[in-house]
Assembly symmetry: C2
Homo-oligomer: 244 residues x 2
């Protein structure tokens, strides 16, 4: 069923009107009067609606029933990744949204080649947030993960370490697996942390460890910088029994 996110303020009364890109999307889907659509307020509630009318640039929906969204993981996983090249970050945003990430946080590392800032960053954040919104609609999420960009590695470590549990994945770590670091914890928030194309430096890893983060391996195979966070996220969701 098509799914659209709307701000809670749009859900007043029994009729909701969508315009702009959402109306254009509805037209592309050839929605006809009577067909069902789900609206989601991005804050935990879904609304089953039927199409009342679809005119040029305006989709009007009649709200039939509200119900709690049931697709959000209980565990809030924040995915921290060192700025990779642009296309890889976009890929990770789309996939991590499907896989249930709570938020996606990018930051510059010593070996990041890409370091967007200022005006370029503002434009990119807008684009990244749109990618997350579109993936959230397509995958049936109950909220759109926020995409954030931090100014520095230090900030990223401080923020990630505030989660109930946090782990950094490092290709030179040989001892500690995610399985061992995780061990069936009952917590509400987790942060997973991966590096850019060139990897994290030893200093960066030491800094994260000092801040209380677990330093883990994802196995002996070297994963690309866009593969590691999605592998870690999938594994953690499995470990936390969220793939059920």
């Amino acid at each position: 069923m098509p799914r659209f996110f709307v701000p809670p303020s749009a859900l007043v009364g029994d009729l909701v009107t969508l315009e702009g890109e959402q109306a254009a999307h509805a037209k592309a889907l050839r929605l006809a009067p009577g067909e069902e659509v789900t609206l989601c307020d991005g804050a935990g509630t879904d609304y089953r609606c039927t199409v009342s009318s679809l005119q040029s640039g305006q989709l009007t929906l009649a709200v039939q029933q509200s119900m709690p969204s049931c697709t959000e993981p209980t565990l809030r996983v924040s995915l921290y990744l060192g700025f990779p090249k642009a296309d890889k970050l976009e890929h990770v945003i789309q996939k991590a949204t499907e896989l249930g990430a709570f938020e996606i946080v990018a930051f510059p590392c010593a070996r990041s080649v890409s370091r967007p800032d200022g005006k370029s960053l503002a434009k990119k954040l807008e684009r990244w947030q749109k990618i997350a919104a579109s993936a959230a609609e397509q995958s049936g999420r109950g909220r759109i993960p926020q995409v954030l960009a931090l100014d520095s590695f230090d900030q990223a470590v401080c923020r990630a370490a505030q989660a109930d549990w946090s782990a950094l994945f490092y290709e030179n770590e040989r001892q500690c697996s995610l399985r061992r670091a995780w061990e069936g914890r009952a917590i509400r928030s987790a942060a997973i942390f991966t590096g850019p194309e060139g990897g994290l430096t030893e200093d960066e890893v030491a800094q994260a460890r000092a801040a209380g983060m677990a330093v883990c391996t994802l196995g002996p195979r070297i994963l690309r910088c866009e593969t590691a966070p999605l592998c870690a996220l999938s594994a953690l969701m499995y470990a936390a029994d969220e793939l059920a």
Copy 2:
């Protein structure tokens, strides 16, 4: 360290000469005499070598030491996926290779839009195998996963069901999770099975179930056809303690 796959027959004596694409790759990496390179015979043995000479189109290596490859998972996971569009299949081949898949098997489903066959398929298989080889080198695998294309869904089900354990992931399954289906098994081979863009049909799912495959959910979020197999593979590798 750069890594090249060579056929076991190339590893006779203490000097090995690489030509063609591998020599070109070595040149692109600006390898200099004395630098270390790993050769892998794709059958479980790595050879630590040093560069003897790199001339136009010819890289000569001196073998220093042989040792067992230590990056192959113990569990052999075959990834079966209904033909998606071409770019998605290439993506899955690259990522599944990094993540340790034993082989990647594509096949037509009722809802597959892409159904390469004949001459076009032969060319594509060659390309897919190259993608797997390149990802295997980059991720440090001990073997190159084979990429296979089967003629029919029936063939795929029969072949997948021969694994020690096999599971199909279906978006309409609500009860059985991978965790429940897996339950810490000690086996040698597993098959995971996912559908194309439009999903699997109920008939296809029933056929797989009848053949003995577990039918599982990956959670309430709808995953794209290229995301589902990689999520399932990552989760299974975690479950089997292969991310250590």
